[in-house]
């Protein structure tokens, strides 16, 4: 049974804003990335999962329980890190932690203390005096203090310095190793890349693609850029090659081509017959893949095609 399940969830705010027919599942122990530009509908989707908002259409379940009707019940197992840091007014960090512990009916604070140490959080300050990074750490500590089985993280590292970002990614990986189910919404590729098993890309309220991150990492499609020593070499290669050359740059004696691992040998056989200045692999990253969606002129089909051929 999937831990998190969305079935055709729609919420139309008008003017093309909202989320439309969103469906995905997150299995137990999986880290699911939710990637998209600002305003794409990531936070709206999470609001539905948290039971803050009622879907116009479709259903959401966590642990098989309806996210709207049993919102409070679900929260025992959920740790939620909101994207926006709005704390209650005029409280110190300690006061806020105590308040959240009372609301969650936690009495054992050893985990909280451990988290505070891990993220080097000083909670004695008034919250309104805290820097953005400190506020983020406070939100992190209170989201995980009850050791939840399911983590819902909305832009968890924004405001953290690189050292803390890295520490947070390590923390998420540890949680993953403990078998936690994690939904991570972000637009930072490195952290999604580093942690997620599967990634859904959302654009203008629609999930345009769901991919396994292994598909990205172990893509057998490779792309290369080759520069030849002279125009003659370039000509010779072009005449004899059996590869399809999608990009030709005769002025720079360069070509770009893509191939699968099996055809690697054939390429090098062909290249032995000409003089080559350099050959470099064009790495295809999550960022490239995402950028294709981000660029509003490109269609979904373009991006899918790029994933397939690995050329960007």
């Amino acid at each position: 049974m999937p831990v998190i399940k969305l079935k055709h969830v729609t919420k139309d705010y008008g003017h093309g804003r909202g989320i439309f027919d969103i469906s995905f599942k997150v299995e137990e122990g999986e880290v699911f990335g939710f990637l998209g530009p600002n305003g794409a509908g990531k936070t709206t989707t999470i609001r539905h999962l948290m039971g803050f908002t009622k879907a116009q259409d479709g259903e959401l379940y966590i642990n098989g329980k309806n996210c709207w009707q049993q919102a409070a019940n679900i929260k025992r197992d959920v740790g939620y890190l909101p994207g926006e840091l709005a704390f209650p007014k005029s409280m110190t960090g300690n006061h806020f932690i105590k308040f959240m512990a009372e609301e969650r009916q936690i009495t054992n604070m050893t985990r909280t203390e451990k988290l505070k140490k891990l993220f080097e959080l000083d909670t004695s300050e008034e919250i309104k005096e805290m820097s953005l990074g400190t506020k983020r750490k406070l939100a992190i500590v209170t989201a995980f203090m009850h050791n939840p089985k399911i983590l819902i993280l909305d832009e968890p590292t924004s405001g953290l310095d690189p050292v803390m970002q890295e520490r947070f990614i390590q923390f998420v990986l540890n949680e993953k190793a403990e078998g936690k189910t994690i939904l991570l919404s972000s637009h930072i590729f490195s952290e999604v890349d580093a942690t997620c098993d599967r990634i859904a890309i959302i654009k203008e309220g629609v999930v345009v693609s769901t991919i396994d991150s292994s598909q990205l990492k172990q893509n057998s499609n490779k792309a290369f850029k080759i520069e030849f020593a002279s125009p003659e070499d370039y000509q010779k290669f072009m005449e004899n090659t059996k590869f399809i050359i999608p990009i030709e740059r005769p002025e720079q004696n360069q070509v770009k081509l893509n191939l699968t691992d099996e055809k690697m040998k054939q390429l090098f056989t062909e290249l032995t017959k000409v003089k080559v200045n350099f050959i470099s692999e064009i790495k295809f990253t999550l960022e490239d893949y995402f950028m294709d969606f981000y660029d509003r002129k490109k269609t979904v089909a373009d991006a899918e095609e790029n994933l397939q051929y690995g050329l960007h």
């Binding site: 948290m50 803050f52 919102a71 909101p82 709005a86 209650p88 007014k89 969650r104």
Partner: protein, 488 residues
């Protein structure tokens, strides 16, 4: 339904404003009570007697009546400030800023969030107005001793000094003043009377109090007797002081009433029994005399001409003593000066005895109306306090409703604060101008009708309506909050 941590947090976030408003309102109420000028109010009442204003003023001429501005304006605006800001703080602020998300990410249901927050607002308003009312009660008691005992008037204070006794002790045993010549002298001077007039006054007060105490006991006994009798209305069971004065025989039937009445006089029960019997005889004699209508004097003082005659007496006394009439009015003993007396007999044709009696009567009745002005009507005070509380609760329900209905602080403040404030402004306009009756349909403040409460009129359904508004809006707020989309 109830969440302790949320209640605790609500207290922590809002107690400061609560404390400030409670202290400010209590202080202002205390100030009103301490600065109350009983003599001033009594003389206004006397001046208006018989005119068209007397009805309006009848509710004004008591300590509670003088608090009208507090109950209609000051306490209301202070309450509005508290409920508007607190209601906003409790709900819409947390929704608009997003901090509600933390609470809702815990296993606390929306119902318990909103229920606890409503409960906080309701309980804090109730506690606030209970404390304010108790402060008023306490200050009145300290200042005038008129809540649990008899008011300590100037004559009691003066007599106490002379008798070297406790004020309270003397106020409950006025006969001790009567028994001591020096005390009588001091007490009379303190009330601007001569001892003759004061003797009449104090006898009047003692008589009335003894009837009052007796009437209370008789009423209690009758309540026990008619407890199960559905045909008897409360009004029929109750024996008022006035009824007893007209018909003192009723006291004779009750030993407890006799004892209570005797205590006021400092009599033994037997002495008191004799006293009542004499009273009854005197009443009968009076009736007879009235029926026969034999009077010796040429001019008869009746209700109709009393005022005019008194005015003439005052004017002619002033004339002959070479002072102005107001000075004479302030110090009626001047009328008893021999020169003034002879001047007055000449002008009015009354006998000297009649004029002296008239002067005494005038002094006694003005002193009695000062006493009356100091009277503390505990029942009216309770209803005033309770009505005010219901009004503020109704106001708070409007603010709370707006605070749950809207997601933006600005809008919630505009409606949830604007509406109560508009009601307040209408009340203020009503207070400033007199002929604005049509306005009363545009504000819920008219459901808290202080005049009707002070006049012991029919105010019940209005208070029920206020309670109804609060109940409906709080319930609606709860229903809305558990169903609405929250922009968190």
């Amino acid at each position: 339904m109830f969440s302790k941590p949320i209640f605790k947090q609500s207290v922590q976030a809002n107690w400061r404003l609560w404390v400030i408003i409670t202290i400010v309102a209590s202080t202002i109420l205390s100030g009103f009570i301490i600065s109350y000028d009983a003599t001033g109010y009594a003389s206004i009442a006397a001046a208006a007697e018989g005119t068209a204003f007397s009805n309006i003023l009848s509710s004004m001429t008591s300590l509670l009546g003088s608090l009208e501005n507090f109950y209609k304006l000051i306490a209301v605006i202070l309450g509005i400030v508290y409920v508007v800001f607190t209601a906003n703080n409790l709900v819409v602020n947390e929704v608009d800023s997003g901090s509600m998300a933390y609470t809702l990410s815990t296993p606390i249901t929306r119902l318990s969030v909103i229920f606890t927050k409503s409960l906080y607002l309701i309980l804090s308003v109730i506690l606030m107005y209970i404390l304010i009312s108790l402060a008023g009660l306490g200050v009145s008691q300290l200042q005038y001793n008129n809540v649990t005992g008899y008011p300590i008037t100037d004559d009691v204070k003066a007599a106490t000094e002379s008798l070297n006794q406790d004020e309270r002790y003397i106020s409950e045993r006025l006969y001790l003043i009567q028994e001591d010549e020096d005390a009588m002298w001091e007490a009379a001077a303190a009330r601007d009377m001569d001892t003759d007039a004061y003797a009449i006054y104090i006898q009047d007060v003692i008589d009335e109090r003894s009837y009052e105490e007796a009437a209370e006991i008789i009423t209690d006994e009758r309540e026990d007797i008619y407890e199960d009798d559905d045909d008897m209305e409360d009004e029929d069971i109750e024996i008022t002081t006035e009824e007893l004065i007209e018909n003192p025989e009723m006291i004779l039937a009750s030993n407890d009433a006799l004892a209570a009445g005797a205590r006021v006089h400092g009599f033994s029960v037997n002495e008191y029994l004799q006293f009542i019997t004499d009273e009854i005889a005197a009443l009968e004699a009076e009736e007879k005399e009235e029926a026969e209508g034999n009077h010796e004097s040429a001019v008869i003082v009746t209700e109709d001409n009393a005022e005019l005659l008194l005015q003439t007496v005052v004017d002619s006394s002033a004339n002959v003593l070479n002072v102005n009439s107001d000075q004479v009015k302030d110090n009626m003993t001047l009328i008893k000066e021999p020169t003034a007396l002879s001047a007055s007999t000449e002008v009015t044709g009354l006998t000297e005895e009649q004029i002296i009696m008239m002067a005494n009567h005038a002094m006694v009745s003005s002193a009695r109306s000062v006493d009356e002005a100091l009277d503390f009507d505990t029942e009216a005070y309770f209803w005033l306090s309770f009505g005010l509380l219901l009004l503020i609760l109704a106001m708070s329900s409007i603010s709370f409703f707006a605070s749950t209905l809207f997601n933006r602080t600005g809008l919630a403040l505009a409606i949830g604060g604007g509406l109560p404030f508009a009601f307040f402004l209408i009340t203020m306009i009503q207070q400033l101008m007199d002929s604005t009756d049509s306005l009363e349909y545009f504000t819920i403040t008219s459901l808290f009708d202080t005049d009707t409460i002070l006049a012991s009129g029919e105010f019940g359904w209005r208070l029920v309506a206020l309670g109804g508004i609060a109940l409906v809006l709080y319930t609606a707020s709860n229903a809305i909050f558990i169903k609405k989309d929250l922009p968190l």
